[in-house]
């Protein structure tokens, strides 16, 4: 079983050796002539407009925060869905109760959503 992977291993090693070998040969054989445009991150592209290590606007954090909270709620809906499917097959009383519970859950989420919305946390300006 394990032996059958030997060709794969050889291929991987050959690939690494080939890549590294070409780079090393290039480094020693080729000439080095550095100039600013050659050192830019995208030699063949447009020049950079600005640095890429800028501070990110705090609003992104705000949106991320809200996203996490509403996103995670799905973790509760999956187990509920499984139980609800089983319940509808056995007893309608429990199914009705489970449905009611989900309505309560979604209502609570809606309360939070309305609060965030009315507080204008989604407005970008």
């Amino acid at each position: 079983m394990t032996e059958s992977f030997v060709p794969v291993l050889i291929l991987i090693l050959f690939g690494i050796a080939l890549g590294a070998g070409m780079l090393i040969v290039n480094w020693y054989v080729g000439t080095h002539r550095r100039n600013p445009s050659k050192l830019a991150p995208y030699e063949g592209g447009v020049p950079l407009l600005d640095t890429n290590r800028k501070r990110i606007n705090v609003r992104f954090y705000q949106i991320a925060m809200l996203f996490i909270i509403f996103d995670i709620e799905a973790a509760f809906i999956y187990p509920w869905a499984v139980i609800y499917r089983d319940a509808t097959m056995t007893s309608s009383g429990i199914a009705l109760f489970a449905l009611g519970e989900m309505f309560v859950f979604v209502t609570l989420l809606a309360v939070g959503y309305i609060y965030v919305w009315k507080k204008k946390a989604f407005d970008w300006n």
């Binding site: 954090y61 925060m65 809200l66 996490i68 996103d71 995670i72 709620e73 973790a75 509760f76």
Partner: protein, 100 residues
């Protein structure tokens, strides 16, 4: 399927990384990430035990922990943002208005 012990070792390792991160790191964002590591180590523990006992309790608890961890992250981020607005830093060591 690795044994329960393997999961426990992994979780102990992650928990330790988280705890050390909280105590050593001075950047609030990193501290927040370390806190998440600690909570997720607990989740690994619970799910590993749950698998071993074939009891569901250990599967239900992580759902709650994940959800609360998200809430905690949100509150933490909000505090960090407020702190940055006031002090222009997220470094724990530079916030020393209260002596102690």
């Amino acid at each position: 399927m690795p044994s329960t012990t393997a999961f426990l070792l992994l979780s102990a390792l992650i928990f330790t990384v988280g705890l050390v991160g909280v105590t050593v790191r001075r950047n609030m964002i990193t501290v927040l990430m370390s806190l998440e590591l600690m909570l997720n180590a607990v989740n690994i523990n619970l799910v590993a035990f749950s698998q071993r006992f074939s009891s569901l309790e250990g599967h239900v608890f992580p759902v709650f922990i994940i959800c609360i961890a998200a809430g905690e992250a949100a509150v933490g981020l909000a505090i960090i943002i407020q702190l940055y607005r006031l002090k222009s830093t997220v470094n724990v060591d530079e916030v020393t208005e209260l002596n102690g």
